[in-house]
Amino acid sequence: MGFLLLVIPLISVLLFFLVKKRLFLHVISLTASGLMMMIALPLAGDVIAKGTVEYAHYGGFFYLDSLSIIVLDIVLLIGFFAAIYSVQYLEVDVRRGKLDFGKVRLYYILMQLFLFTMILALTVKNMGIMWIAIEATTLASVFLVGFHNDRYALEAAWKYVIICSVGIAVAMLGIIFLHLSSIGVLESRELLQWTALMENAGRLNDSTARLAFIFILVGFGTKAGLAPMHTWLPDAHSQAPAPISALLSGVLLNSAMYGIIRMAAVVNKSLGSSIYTGRLLMAMGMLSIVIAAVFILTQKDYKRLLAYSSIEHMGIIAVAIGFFTPLSLFGGLLHMINHSLTKSMLFLCSGSLLQKFETKQIPRIKGVLKMLPFSGTAFLFGLFAIAGMPPFSVFASELGILMSVFNEGSYIIGAVLAILFVIVFAGIATAMFRIFYGSNENKDLEPGEENIPGTLIIMTLLVIIGITGLWMPDPIIELIHQAQSIISGV
């Protein structure tokens, strides 16, 4: 059953090569991503029931537990939404003569491959394969980042591929050292399998594991956009097409963060305390938040602004993981979910903005609320949400994280965090709010949404983040609790 998740994208890629009409491309991608979501959501139920989902075939490399199912479901949910959004998004570009059939096909193929690599990364037990998959995500999404194929897109893509490949390579070094630390502890068939590592964590070689952790932190941190390895992120996110930005920001970062979490869990268990990893994670997390907060203040390009806000939130999650208390882990995982939903909604909105106004420059835009009555409103609310305003969901998780921080008695960090949240909010408010009001100068734009299904998606997401702020469904809470206990290894 779960294998279908790995099969469907590949099949759909083949089908893409076969068909000749744009309509079929859309249909295939919708059905594929729809199917995958249909499959993935019930899996969560199994995980809650049985704790894990494993299959014996092929050396039993396929492995799902509550931690990975959380991230996986986010991937497929947002993948589905992005697929729906892409239809009209691409159609509009085709109508404007920017794309042809070949480009659309390329887009869908790469998108499915991108999803495939991420699913692979999340459903394997073997850290080596996970690494391969995460490296592959980069390769699959490079041309999506450079999709528009102008100078800017190309530059962004080059930076993306070089920096991420280097980072991931460093992560490989880390995995090797982890491997080294487990020599003589695990027997050969469970080498690099992190479940085994987790079980025997106590007997790993501490110092090698520590060395491994720093390499993995740098490596996956690069992919997760932690400062100071975040540098590729604003370029890539701002240049990619909106649905892809949504995927990159809402999903890819999470998958990388997933790697870090697994690793931190192992190392913490083998070291017996979270101080070592905690310090590093907190340092990088705070640095990311600071950088994001400072850069957002005077940002002129709204997609870059959103990208920096992603950096900020990855930093927040890193800090939460760093504290490694049950409450902070809970908050961190919750924050993963909330941030992905909110941020992907924002990027989809930005896509509508971009197609309506055809500029990314904030000063050139006015009267969004008039021009885009629905997605514009959603954008405004989303900005409030991402800045941590109640009753939206990001607020809840940020509150949880703050509580855990203060609970640990580290008041300074907590206070600094709270202040930084405010600075980010102030930056977003001063930079962005002006685009919503007033009325646009050039009159040839007529108000109204172009991307109807996309707008529906945006509205759905808005409703979700609006409700989950106060009332998160019990299964999810249950999942998060399980995941948290898995991470803390008790």
Binding site: W158, K159, I162, I163, V166, G167, V170, R210, L211, I214, F215, L217, V218, P228, M229, T231, P234, Y276, L280, V294, F295, L297, T298, F330, L369, F384, A387, M389, P390, P391, F395, A396, G400, L402, M403, V405, F406, N407, Y411, G414, A415, A418, I419, V422, F425, A426, A429, T430, F433, R434, F436, Y437, G438, S439, L470, W471, M472, P473, D474, I477
Partner: protein, 680 residues
């Protein structure tokens, strides 16, 4: 009259409000109907709420608990708890809501066809709801959420007329300032949580060490002070309140800034418990500054609503002075004075709610009728809008602390509490107190000047511009809404014991000391202070005396002077042909002397330039006077620009765009981490 019934009343009114909000959205297309329905529902549920809160205040003390929907988030309990303090503020809120909603029935009519009435009413009602939750939340997280929702909704109301650029700026400034303030509150809550492991507002704070309490107090003063608009963190207020539609400004200035006072009482006095004298002293200091500077800036304003907004700053200052006296007294264990001062400040909060709400509604009426808020363009409105003029006059007298209106009572109580507390032995606080007395006096006199200007320039004399020479009176509902408030001001001014009886319950519950038996009399209100023989005033008898004496004067004149012969004639124009409106004293001119006397505050600057013609006979002379707010010029703007430049520089310093730098970052990170790993 058990607690159960009160509970049901409140549930009903909350439910009604919700229904009203939804109805407003549903009927969005049909402006008139939507407006009638939603405001009608507001009035009804407001009355329910008023009944419930009065019952609570008169009934036995104790908590009323009302659970709302459950939240699955572990650290959040959506539950209302109502004690006398909440009930008092709920009562004030409901009274104001009823009056404002009556007013809105007429006022909103100028939106018909132009704006989304449904959306406006939805925001309006949800704003009220959020304030109800702020006043009744039993748990800090719930409080925080309600607080933020309040800010958010009021932000949308402030920028409701968003096509004007200054409204957008005002809105952004407002939401940013209030969010920063909220961050301080959040930190405070978190520190509390880290010690008590709970967010319950009615729990005990014994687990919190003293230093932490001091820090929390500072944070709360910053946070709530910003919301209250206390100087120097007031800068959002004079921009935001004028930007909002007038009925919303009435709510914001009338009750929303009081949520901060509620917060200070609830969290500091009730939860933390006053620890040190300097807490009170700090509040008194802030209060003095706010009271004097607030009214001084108000006097300089030419825009009615900005003037009113600054005067709100002043009144918040007065409230804070009262609160500060209460804190100081409590910190030194003098519960009687503590209770008295608490009553004084809460009473002033109540009074200010009524007359300031009324004044903003009046400003709304003027704007509704004339289309301008600029005093310099108004004049002579008393002839075309007699009722509005009369009501505004009442409110102006009330806010200038003049008998027989309610503003005087609360100031009298504040004076009395200070008087009762000044005693030998603590020179420091004594000097602060006497300064507070001076500040109160100065603020009162300046307020009188300020509102003479407001009333005199805009309602008396000749019309200062063509278009307002033929306006007509506003619809009767609007005047009805204001009329109720004016009647309340007079009632509470002449029979203050009515309201003091209610507030005494608050003091009794919070401080455990009821001073009602020391404040006696129905017509005469007596304060038996310091077990000396009491000091009594009787606004009612003064009112009677004024009436009788006027009659006597009339009688005497009639007897000695014969019948009254009146001759209408033009105003003395020094023999010129016909005096015209340009010759009248302007609002700027009216406040000029004060401006010059207090030039340190205003940095007045003037510029005269002769345009065209010869030096001796220019065609046109332009004369500009400007006065600036020192805080904006010397504190906020520099800080803001510094931050922005820093961010701009840092951005390009780090994100250089060269991939080599990016790789170097990674490289150095690896090296540093390896070294760290080596040494740890």
């Amino acid at each position: 009259m058990g607690a159960l019934q009160i509970e049901n009343y409140i549930q009903m009114s909350v439910l009604l409000f919700t229904i009203g909000a939804l109805a407003a959205l549903a009927l969005g297309k049909r402006d008139r109907l939507c407006n009638l329905v939603s405001n009608g529902i507001c009035i009804a549920s407001g009355l329910l709420l008023m009944v419930a809160s009065v019952m609570k205040l008169l009934g036995a003390s104790g908590l009323i608990q009302i659970g709302l929907l459950r939240s699955t988030l572990p650290f959040l309990a959506l539950e209302m708890k109502i004690d006398n303090l909440s009930a008092l503020f709920l009562m004030v809120l409901s009274v104001l809501v009823v009056c404002v909603s009556i007013y809105s029935i007429g006022y909103i009519s100028h939106y018909y066809g132009k704006r989304k009435v449904g959306l406006f009413n939805f925001l309006y009602i949800t704003f009220i709801l959020s304030m109800i939750f702020v006043f009744t939340s039993s748990n800090a997280v719930f409080f925080y959420i309600a607080w933020e929702a309040m800010s958010l909704l009021s932000y949308f109301l402030v920028i409701f007329e968003s096509e004007r650029m200054e409204n957008q700026r005002a809105g952004t400034l407002y939401i940013v300032m209030t969010h920063i303030a909220t961050a301080f509150l959040l930190i405070g809550f978190m520190i509390i949580y880290s010690y008590t492991k709970s967010f319950d507002l009615f729990g005990s704070s014994d687990a919190i060490p003293d230093t932490a309490k001091n820090i929390i107090f500072i944070l709360f003063v910053l946070g709530f002070g910003t919301k209250a608009g206390a100087i120097p963190v007031h800068i959002w207020l004079p921009y935001a309140h004028p930007a909002a539609p007038s009925n919303v400004s009435a709510l914001m200035s009338g009750i929303m800034i009081k949520t901060a006072i509620y917060g200070l009482i609830r969290f500091v006095l009730d939860f933390l418990g006053v620890q040190h004298v300097w807490w009170g002293a700090l509040l008194i200091g802030v209060g003095i500054v706010s009271a004097v500077l607030g009214v001084a800036y108000a006097l300089m304003e030419q825009d009615i609503k900005r003037l009113l907004a600054y005067s709100s700053v002043e009144n918040i200052g007065i409230i804070l002075i009262g609160l500060g006296v209460s804190f100081t007294a409590l910190a030194q264990g003098n519960e009687t004075v503590g209770a008295l001062a608490l009553i004084a400040s809460t009473l002033h909060a109540v009074n200010h709610t009524f007359f300031k709400g009324g004044l903003f509604l009046g400003a709304g009426s003027v704007h509704y009728a004339t289309g301008t808020k600029d005093i310099e363009k108004l004049g002579g409105l008393i002839k075309s809008m007699p009722i509005t003029a009369l009501l505004v006059l009442c409110f102006s007298l009330a806010i200038s602390a003049i008998v027989p209106f309610n503003g005087f009572i609360s100031e009298w109580l504040t004076y009395q509490s200070i008087f009762a507390y000044i005693s030998p032995g603590q020179p420091g606080t004594n000097i602060l107190f006497i300064l507070a007395v001076a500040a109160l006096g100065l603020a009162g006199a300046l307020a009188a000047a300020c509102f003479v200007k407001l009333f005199g320039i805009s309602f008396l004399g000749l019309p200062r511009s063509e278009e307002i020479s033929h306006v007509e009176e506003v619809p009767v509902v609007m005047n009805a809404g204001m009329g109720i408030l004016a009647a309340l001001c007079l009632l509470l001014g002449t029979f203050p014991l009515v309201i003091i009886r209610l507030i005494d319950g608050v003091a009794g519950e919070l401080i455990g000391r009821s001073v009602f038996d020391q404040l006696q009399g129905g017509f005469v209100i007596t304060w038996y202070s310091m077990d000396l023989t009491g000091t009594a005033i009787s606004p009612f008898e003064i009112l009677i005396a004024l009436g009788v004496l006027t009659l006597l004067a009339l009688l005497a004149i009639r007897v000695y002077g014969g019948k009254y012969i009146e001759r209408k004639y033009g105003t003395w124009d020094c023999g010129f042909e016909g005096i015209n409106s340009r010759m009248q004293y302007t609002a700027t001119g009216f406040s000029k002397p004060v401006k010059i006397v207090f030039r340190i505050l205003f940095r007045p600057s003037r510029k005269t330039e002769a345009i065209g013609g010869t030096d001796y006979y220019p065609d046109r002379i332009e004369y500009k006077v400007a006065s600036e707010s020192i805080f904006e010029k010397y504190v906020y703007l520099p800080a803001y620009s510094r931050v922005r430049t820093f961010s701009r520089k840092a951005k390009f310093l780090v994100q250089t765009g060269s991939i080599h730098n990016y790789l170097i970052y990674i490289f150095i990170t690896i090296l540093v981490l390896m070294a760290y790993n080596r040494f740890v």
